[in-house]
Symmetry: C2
């Protein structure tokens, strides 16, 4: 038996539509090629600020095009989607909750992450609210979460803050600048529109940069 | 016989790798769906400046990722490509020459544009140089160009400058903010990675935004 190939890193922001679309595709795609995926939420605004970059949809032209393209890309990918009122929300609570849950059970953390993004991008769930996040954690990952009230307190605690800060620092060091970014053996693929290239790369039809054909 | 469907607008910058990739695909794709394409070069830096937006690959992280992704996307699309030394070059001469040629012969102008991008992105042609552009025009479109020496002078003249200024103003009014942007019946598709959505849209498999399914 050969060695298991290394996991793929999937960096995303909970409030990123393209990150949500990627979250609906990347696990099955990786599994078809014998790869596992490590989900790594970040706070995009914090990562961009560390790099000295502006938020992605700040300019009215890019915001208007983004709204058009989110909706069109969802239809193209056949993923349910409705622009949440008040978009975009910053969601440190969701990201902190994820890293707390992951310590107990990585699979449960992923179930929770999926529930957060589906809640937000299908039903407008209030993901900026710690209580909403604790309720979603309790529903999606009851064993890893424990009591909902206690978990709501832990989301605001020093441990959760330190876990998220470490993940953000790692994302900055890894030169991530957008959501989603998929890292395959250190090679970055930015954007859900890189799905066909990711598939070709995993299937061995697209060589890594700098490698000989 | 029905009315001919309106042409598709293809906005691009001569020094844009993704614009070059699109230029190698859009005509054949449109033709398969009974559509013609109107090529519309612009100067991206001028359009972005008018919108108050920074150049796209200014930040080192985005520049490094861009270089990786240009090369990878070329391999994925199976388009010959070599990063030109000194990239990116600003090429008002090429864009002005295009609009001069188009007045005489739109097909010849497109042949010229193709020659410029292939020259630049395959062989590092000096597209920022008026003499190089006049030579390319004379070779690709001899009848529309006339004498190479006279055409080199016309590229720097008031007529050519006014034609390009009008095109840039039109791009700004059309809210273009990137190269390539394809406009189908007023709907914008930004980036060569939108080729699959453009194809689905032209084939009637992807409804226009706001339309009923």
């Amino acid at each position: 038996m050969g060695k298991k190939p290394p996991a793929i890193d999937f960096w995303f922001d909970f409030a990123s539509p393209y990150g949500y679309f990627m979250s609906e595709r990347i696990d099955a795609l990786a599994a078809r090629h014998g790869r596992q995926v490590r989900w790594r939420p970040l706070l995009l605004f914090a990562v961009l600020r560390a790099h000295g970059l502006p938020p992605p949809f700040e300019h009215p032209l890019k915001r208007d095009y983004g709204h058009l393209d989110f909706e069109r890309s969802a239809r193209f990918l056949e993923i349910p989607y409705a622009m949440p009122a008040g978009f975009p929300h910053i969601s440190p609570h969701a990201a902190r909750a994820f890293y707390l849950l992951r310590q107990a059970d990585p699979a449960a953390a992923r179930d929770f992450a999926r529930a957060v993004m589906r809640g937000y991008f299908r039903a407008g769930a209030a993901i900026a609210d710690a209580g909403c996040i604790a309720a979603l954690a309790h529903e999606a990952a009851p064993l890893a979460c424990g009591s909902e009230a206690e978990f709501a307190l832990r989301i605001d605690g020093a441990e959760a803050r330190a876990l998220l800060a470490a993940a953000i620092e790692e994302a900055v060091q890894a030169r991530i600048f957008g959501s989603p970014t998929v890292l395959i053996d250190g090679e970055a693929f930015f954007g859900v529109d890189r799905l066909p290239q990711i598939e070709a790369r995993l299937a061995g039809r697209l060589a890594a940069p700098g490698s000989r054909p």
